[in-house]
């Protein structure tokens, strides 16, 4: 059964518990899972057939020197092999699709939920956790799906072998049917111990990788300041320690490998002994002895599936729990939509600081502490519930979507998504190249575009990792300008660019945002000088308001802020 991915609609997951989530993933593909059970069971059952056929080939054909019957039985073996290799691949194919469907569906619902939760998500879930969902957890959730097909098949096959063995010898049947699971279960604790030693090794391995990464990241410092020998020596020492830890892991894991392979063969040897004695005593035929050997060797497959399956489910539940945790996050800002937004540009007011933003003005906010200014931006942008008002009505009860569309807070932590430059600066609506170039021009980011091999089509890494701080900042500004909101709140938009560029940006920004409301949170005199009004924030409250010139003349604290360090000689 083919899989169409991505799903047009991944559906609404059951997030009541990790187990229910996994069951939901099964329920979403009932036909495929049933098919998986069918193929899985048939495949396992047919695995039992060859030893049976070989037994007959030996007894009826070989021993009887009857080439006709030997040919018949052998033909049946070949036929079984052919049929089962087809069933086997059908099982593999179906189960691959079952696993993929679960994995892809998980990615789809997590992404869809993440964009619904929005700003709250990074506050509640660490990057590491999300990365872990994408990397390890997904794989584990996918593996749990294997238990649906071959897992069921394993039980069926086990029962079939039981019936066949009872037919040959009840005693042998008892020994084998109790012995094999006991044997494999006994491996459980050993496997756990190996997992522990391996965890210690992995941690140390991670630390060594981090050390190597650290050396590379700081290579420029080591080149300029020195200390290469120290780092080479230290790496060598830690690498040696990891090697020795690896030896210790090898000491344990090699026993487990040997026992995993060897114990079944030891058991097989014991059963063969028993069977051989029975054969010698004439209780069972030679063919039947060969069959017993074949059955026991074959039984490892279903039992292995069962034990693996139990472990997969255990790990899958842990992984699903993390997914469910993300899926149950809710945005903190409640969307009441009780008050309509003003129909036209209107005054924004923040009672907590006493700040007022008039429609159409270019207002600069200079704060001694950056945190105070960010808090104002969060209140005006409705990222937290506050007493802020828009046109005199409470912002907190207005529809969030409309507020987001009309008031934009653009800060330097804004995420730059990987992709062609054209997409990296994309906003809700589509923009043609002409509009993009215009915004690039205002943000004085032309050099970023021309410096890249394919202009707007050039690939940008996530967070603009392959760009300089100043280039990233201007791309963020480009995007904010493209969004062209009614109220644009820019947080330190030029802190990483040089004075020349900053002054050009300031002039163009003023021109572009003419008649629109713009709030600049900044401390650079080049920007402050351009604003219609400047508000000076001290301890989170408005301490003074006026033009840049007024404040320079009347507020010593403001002067010190704008010309930071001017009184002190630097160079």
């Amino acid at each position: 059964m083919r899989l169409k991915a991505p799903h047009a609609d991944p559906g609404v997951p059951d997030t009541q518990s990790a187990l229910r989530y996994l069951l939901w993933l099964v329920r979403k593909q009932p036909g495929r899972v049933c098919l998986g059970v069918l193929f899985g069971s048939t495949w396992m059952l047919v695995l039992v057939v060859p030893p049976y056929l070989i037994a007959h080939a030996v007894d009826d054909g070989l021993r009887a020197r009857d080439m006709g019957r030997l040919g018949l039985w052998t033909g049946l073996i070949a036929l079984t092999g052919m049929v089962n290799s087809v069933i086997g691949i059908m099982r593999h194919r179906t189960m691959t699709f079952v696993r993929l469907d679960a994995g892809f569906r998980t990615v789809e619902v997590v992404i869809r939920h993440a964009v619904r939760v929005g700003a709250e998500l990074p506050r509640r879930v660490s990057t590491g956790e999300v990365v872990s969902i994408g990397a390890a957890d997904l794989d584990r959730i996918m593996r749990t799906m294997t238990t649906t097909g071959p897992g069921v098949g394993a039980v069926v096959a086990y029962a079939a072998v039981a019936v066949l063995l009872v037919g040959i010898s009840p005693l042998l049947a008892l020994v084998v049917l109790l012995g094999v699971p006991a044997l494999l279960l006994s491996l459980g604790p050993l496997l756990n111990r190996m997992r522990e030693t391996e965890t210690a090794y992995r941690e140390q391995q991670g630390a060594l990788a981090a050390r190597a990464g650290d050396i590379v990241a700081g290579l420029r410092v080591l080149c300029g300041i020195g200390g290469k020998d120290r780092f080479a020596e230290r790496y060598r020492r830690e690498s040696g320690a990891l090697r020795d830890e690896g030896y210790r892991v090898g000491a344990v894991s090699s026993w487990i490998e040997a026992v995993t392979v060897g114990m079944p063969s030891l058991f097989l040897a014991a059963v063969t002994w028993l069977a051989a004695r029975m054969t010698a005593a004439g209780e069972i035929t030679i063919g039947e002895m060969v069959a017993v050997y074949g059955y026991v060797a074959m039984l490892a497959t279903p039992v292995y599936f069962l034990i693996e399956g139990a472990q997969d489910i255990n790990r899958g539940l842990v992984a699903a729990r993390r997914v469910v945790r993300v899926l149950t996050l809710r945005p903190t800002v409640a969307d009441h939509a009780a008050t309509p937004c003003p129909t036209r540009a209107a005054e924004l007011h923040d009672p907590a600081s006493g700040l007022t933003v008039r429609p159409g003005e270019l207002l600069a906010v200079a704060a001694a502490s950056p945190a105070d200014a960010l808090a104002v931006a969060d209140r005006l942008g409705r990222y937290v519930d506050s007493d802020a008002t828009w046109a005199g009505r409470p912002l907190a009860t207005m529809p969030v979507d409309e507020v987001r569309r009309r008031i934009l807070v653009a800060d330097n932590d804004a995420y730059l998504f990987a992709g062609p430059l054209r997409h990296a600066v994309a906003t809700e609506t589509d923009h043609d190249d002409h509009e993009i170039h215009a915004a690039v021009h205002t943000a004085v980011a032309e050099d970023v575009v021309t410096g890249l091999p394919d202009g707007l089509a050039s690939y940008i890494e996530a967070q603009g990792r392959d760009l300089s701080g100043g280039q990233r900042q201007r791309l963020r500004l480009t995007r904010a300008l493209l969004a062209d909101p009614e109220v644009l709140i820019l947080v330190e938009p030029t802190s990483a660019v040089d004075a020349h560029t900053e002054s050009v940006i300031a002039t163009r920004l003023r021109e572009t945002r003419r008649d629109r409301t713009t709030v600049l949170i900044a401390t650079s005199p080049l920007l402050l000088d351009l604003a219609d009004r400047v508000v000076f924030l001290v301890d989170g409250r408005v301490a003074a308001t006026g033009t840049h010139g007024d404040l320079l003349a009347t507020e010593p604290g403001y002067r010190a802020l704008a010309y930071r360090g001017s009184e002190e000689e630097l160079v």
Binding site: P6, I54, G61, L62, R63, L70, T80, G81, V86, G88, I89, H92, T96, V115, E120, V131, G134, A210, A212, G213, D214, G218, L219, R220, V221, C223, I225, G227, S239, R243, G246, Y247, A251, S254, V259, V261, A269, A276, T279, A280, A281, G282, I286, Y293, Y383, R404, R405, F417, E428, Q471, S495, A496, D498, A499, D529, L561, G565, E568, L570, V571
Partner: protein, 583 residues
Amino acid sequence: MTQKHTWQLPVASRAAVRRANRELITTDPRGTVLVLLTTSLAAATGLAAPWLIGRIVNHVEADGADTSTVDMLAFAIVGAAIAHVVLTRFAHYLAHRFAERSLARLREEFVDRTLALPTSVVERAGTGDLMARTTGDIAVVGGALRDAAPEVFVGALQTLFILGAVFLLDPVLGLCAATGVGALWFTGRWYVRRARDGYLAEGSANSEMSETLAATADGARTVEAFGLQRRRVRAGDRSVAEAHRTRVYTLFLRCVLFPQVDFSYMLSTCVVLVAGGLLYTNGQATLGAVVSAALYSMQLVDPVNRVLMWVENLQRSSASLARLKGVAEAGTEVPPGGHPRDDRLEVTGVHYAYHASYRDVLHGVDLSVRPGERLAIVGPSGAGKSTLGRLLAGVDRPRAGTVSVGGVPVADLAPEELRRRIVLVTQEHHVFIGTVRDNLAIAAPAATDADLLGALAAVDAEWVHTLPAGLGTELGAGGLALDAAQAQQLALARVVLVDPHTVILDEATALLDPATARQAERAMGAVLAGRTVIAIAHRLHTAHYADRVAVMADGRITELGNHHQLVEAGGEYARLWRSWHGA
């Protein structure tokens, strides 16, 4: 500002990779022989059971009820199984040790080579590629050495032993058993040729998908602010589609391979049975030999499968090995050295391009900096300020013209000599994983704790006294995280310890917020006292107090003089200064 680099670190050739593979064996001959020996013995003992069952068959067939011989043979099966367990254990253990040893050697060599890279190479190649090699490729090669190589080796050896055993039983039956495996050769080759690219594509589509997921969650506030919900969902769906496409391809490869592997060993068994039947009927083989041969053919599936599954992984790792070994080819030029007669910096007729085929970014720069002078360099992005700074610091050589200190080209100086004279401080303040002491001692290995504390005091880093373990406090990854200002102070304390005559500051405080920058600039004042200072300036107030200001535009110095001269000259500098001052 960062420029786009297209210069890439070299990747080792196929021949070099083959040599590296050979070296793995030749540098550890004792380990190789031991692994080979134990693995062979383990494979041999694994063959005992079917053979002994054949003997039992013959015995029972010949004289029915003699249990004691059957007991002996069956006991031999148990004995062989025990020997198999023990030998398998030692084979695995020795292979594991061999892999760990080889991997440790490889990664240490890689780090040594990385540290030996000339500064200019590091600057030109950037750290991104190196970082990918360090984190990604070492892990891939490690996985191949620890898991894939032993699996392929053991699988191949077992296959040979099983076939060998059947040949010993009866050469005709041996040929029959080999037919199945032989038939697999073509499918196997078809599969392995496509598997490498297939699984590489699957891996990268996979990480693309998890990155898209992580980015969406990480940037969820931005998604909300800019209304990017639909775009992110689309990006997620696209990554799913790509992951799906690559998975379907590898599934297709397996759909061709698996049935053939499954069927081929069944085919071997059938051919052995029929041929064996003919031989037995004609009295040319015993019943036991035929039964053993049939059981052996059934055993072939596992090792053959293992080889086919892991060969692809082994192949993939050779690309990684090529990247690890390639670093060694990036050159380890040793600067000729020299002894400057004084600390006067001279720049004459300097032209510079990032690459031979690129256009120049500096067009004939001349500049002379006398000892003790404070020079500010200002200008728009892309004017060549940072490039000039890096040439002055000896990080790279000009394409034409000279940059010299005391008559010796700066880039000719040995690293120790160079850093006593000139140190470049940029906005990258790397804090190394390790203690505060480790972080400082790189600058002065012989320094005492008192020296280190003195250097920290000089840059106002009083916070060191509030740390839980003082100089012994662990920083970075898992330890204490320093804020940007503290990291900068640490970087400056290193400069104090190196004690160079000249310090070049390249927008050292550009990425700090205003309050932090103020603090860092105060700290810098102490460091710079009594040294030649070249400040590539970000804010104009830096220029105000410099002895001289150089204004750069389009790779040239367009204005040069002190602040007042330039303001009076009425050029670009004067215009900026006025707008900056709100005058």
